[in-house]
């Protein structure tokens, strides 16, 4: 088994602007993530889909460099993510999850500014450059007017944008989002995904999203990874992965797959009982 910490594996993964997961595996008490390999390119949005308990979040944690896999390694731009210190990693990898605690009332600007933390170094205060990036992140997510609003007062959709802004402020090379559209209405869902895809292109980072929104994934993702029970059932372009037999098996319910008339992308509909 290749040692995740070993740097000799780096040489096999040379392309810049790529995230490569090489046979990463993990094991919990009741659950095992079988060795999975995938490649995600910068400027593209990759979606990880699958039923609950299929290992999506675990995989995401491993890809972020935070959770050390029992086997295999993760390489971003050729660098082993698990060999980096948390600070160095935080400069390259932005992970946004759903469990942000909001007991203390921050302003949006303060909240987004936290994203610059990995870059502050030994200084206790932000530099003008840091402030510039914060303003830039707010602009990119159209949150300028919200800068001095309290995060707690925002709607869920606006809050998700703020989370995205904070992640952006990190200026990461890899952006990982765990169900960024949970609890959002369809308008916000579309907006977030669109924003993600556009930003991934314009800022040239690797975007990876774990989501339950199958149709949004089909519509927006350049690459899709389908998991089930800790295994990768299939991965590839949306058209390849979104097959009725695969999806029905994965989600334990019969589905139909046809095409979205407006875009030509796969569209999933579940079969009425």
């Amino acid at each position: 088994m290749p040692d995740p910490q070993s740097s000799t594996i780096q040489s096999t993964a040379q392309a810049a602007g790529e995230l490569i997961a090489d046979s990463v595996a993990f094991r919990f008490a009741q659950f095992a993530l079988s060795p999975i390999s995938l490649k995600a390119r910068a400027g593209e949005l990759t979606a990880i889909i699958g039923p609950n308990g299929s290992g999506k979040s675990t995989l995401l944690e491993i890809l972020s460099g935070h959770l050390k896999p029992k086997a295999g390694g993760v390489f971003l731009d050729g660098q082993n993510l698990h060999a980096l210190s948390p600070r160095e990693r935080a400069r390259k990898v932005g992970l946004a999850r759903q469990d942000t605690i909001l007991l203390f009332s921050f302003e949006v600007q303060e909240f987004v500014r936290q994203g610059r933390h990995p870059h502050l170094g030994n200084s206790l205060f932000e530099s003008p450059e840091d402030d510039r990036w914060v303003a830039w992140a707010l602009e990119k997510t159209c949150l300028q007017e919200f800068a001095h609003r309290r995060v707690m007062e925002m709607s869920s959709g606006e809050f998700q944008r703020a989370v995205l802004a904070r992640t952006l402020a990190q200026r990461p090379r890899l952006v990982l989002l765990d169900e960024p559209t949970a609890n959002l209405d369809i308008g916000y869902q579309v907006e977030i995904f669109r924003l993600l895809r556009q930003l991934a292109k314009s800022e040239n980072f690797v975007g990876i999203v774990v989501t339950h929104e199958l149709n949004l994934a089909a519509e927006m993702a350049d690459y899709v990874v389908l998991l089930q029970g800790g295994n990768c059932l299939h991965q590839g372009k949306a058209e390849d992965v979104f097959r009725a037999d695969l999806l029905s098996r994965a989600f334990r319910t019969p589905v139909l797959v046809d095409q979205n008339p407006s875009s030509g992308r796969p569209r999933v509909t579940w079969v009425a009982p």
């Binding site: 990693r89 999850r97 007991l103 303060e110 936290q114 933390h117 206790l124 205060f125």
Partner: protein, 333 residues
């Protein structure tokens, strides 16, 4: 209101707070059983007219008390701020982790043993605080790391347990000793030696500055341990350091002045209302705010029922409770 945390703002904030503190100190030096004029206070401080009543009152009686009040007030307020961030709980205060109970038990054991030990209560109180701190730390670990949740539970359980023991030992003391102990449990600033002040000042100031160095980490920690880790914070190291510093500050404060309540809980909240949640502005505000509050409370304790004195912990509680209720209504309204 949120005060933008820039270097310039923090410096201005420090200057403004320090100025306020100095003014209040002068006021406190002037007030008391014997009211002095500011001129008398000034000449008393400078040491003119040796032997005059004003000089003795100002330098030997009031000044040590005010110095102690500033140190203890700052220590408790900053400790509370740190713990509220560490535990991600706006209701945390320096006593929730059991340190004040451990310290009180140390003091009461010295009294029970009696003899020369009775004079060493600050020392035994501090030992009690340190032992409790270590014990709760040991209990509060999960998977080799401090877990805020486990820490809070461990602290609460330890505090209750120690309080029960204290009550038990109180029944063993004679009623006269119990009176002395009761005052200690309610906080008292009237007994302070030069040695204590000379030792406390650098210790408390250094601990506060050290905690300040973790300000930006504390900001991120407020978002959650997972988030903080993903933003590059070495969560284990920061949590341990903050725990140690906050406990140390509490232990130092409580061993010399007894358990003065509410400051550690209220002042951070008042600070947040004034300058926001960013610890780079909040910690200095809490430090000076705590100092100011305790000096004011102590002055009240000294003057309200003169010639008798109130225990200062009673004043902070009686004044603190309504303030807390007001804050609660305002923030939930």
């Amino acid at each position: 209101m949120t005060l933008s945390p820039t270097r310039r703002n923090v410096l201005l904030l420090l200057l403004a707070l320090a100025a306020a503190l100095v003014v209040i100190d002068f006021g406190a030096l002037a007030l008391g059983g014997v009211h002095l004029s500011l001129g008398e206070v000034w000449s008393g401080l400078l040491g003119r007219y040796p032997g005059s009543e004003a000089r003795v009152i100002v330098r030997d009686i009031r000044l040590p008390r005010i110095l102690l009040a500033m140190l203890v007030g700052a220590a408790l307020a900053v400790s509370g701020t740190g713990l509220q961030a560490l535990l991600r709980n706006p209701l945390a205060d320096p006593y929730v982790l059991g340190i004040s109970s451990g310290s009180a038990l140390g003091a009461i054991v010295a009294l029970w043993i009696g003899g020369r030990m009775a004079s060493a209560t600050p020392l035994t109180a501090f030992v009690g605080a340190v032992l409790t701190m270590s014990w709760v730390y040991f209990l509060g670990r999960r998977a080799g790391r401090l877990s805020s949740y486990t820490l809070l539970l461990a602290g609460v359980v330890t505090a209750s347990f120690l309080s029960a023991i204290i009550l038990f030992v109180l029944t063993l003391l004679s009623t006269r000793d119990v009176r002395g102990m009761a005052f200690w449990l309610m906080g008292d600033l009237s007994v302070v030696t030069d040695v204590q002040i000379r030792f406390l000042s650098p210790a408390i100031i250094i601990a506060i500055v050290a905690l300040y160095a973790f300000s930006k980490d504390l900001n991120v920690l407020l978002l959650g341990e997972g988030e903080a880790a993903h933003l590059g914070v070495n969560v284990a190291r920061v949590e341990t350091a903050v725990y140690l510093l906050a406990s140390l500050l509490t232990g130092l404060a409580v061993s010399v002045s007894g358990a003065i309540g509410y400051l550690g809980l209220l002042v951070p909240h008042l600070g947040r209302m004034l300058v926001g949640n960013d610890h780079r502005t909040l910690i200095p505000t809490a430090a000076f705010g705590g100092a100011i509050m305790l000096v004011l409370s102590d002055t009240l304790a000294r003057t309200a029922v003169a010639p008798a004195e109130l225990p200062v912990g009673a004043v902070t509680a009686v004044a603190g409770a309504p303030v807390f209720i007001y804050l609660l209504r305002r923030t939930s309204g």
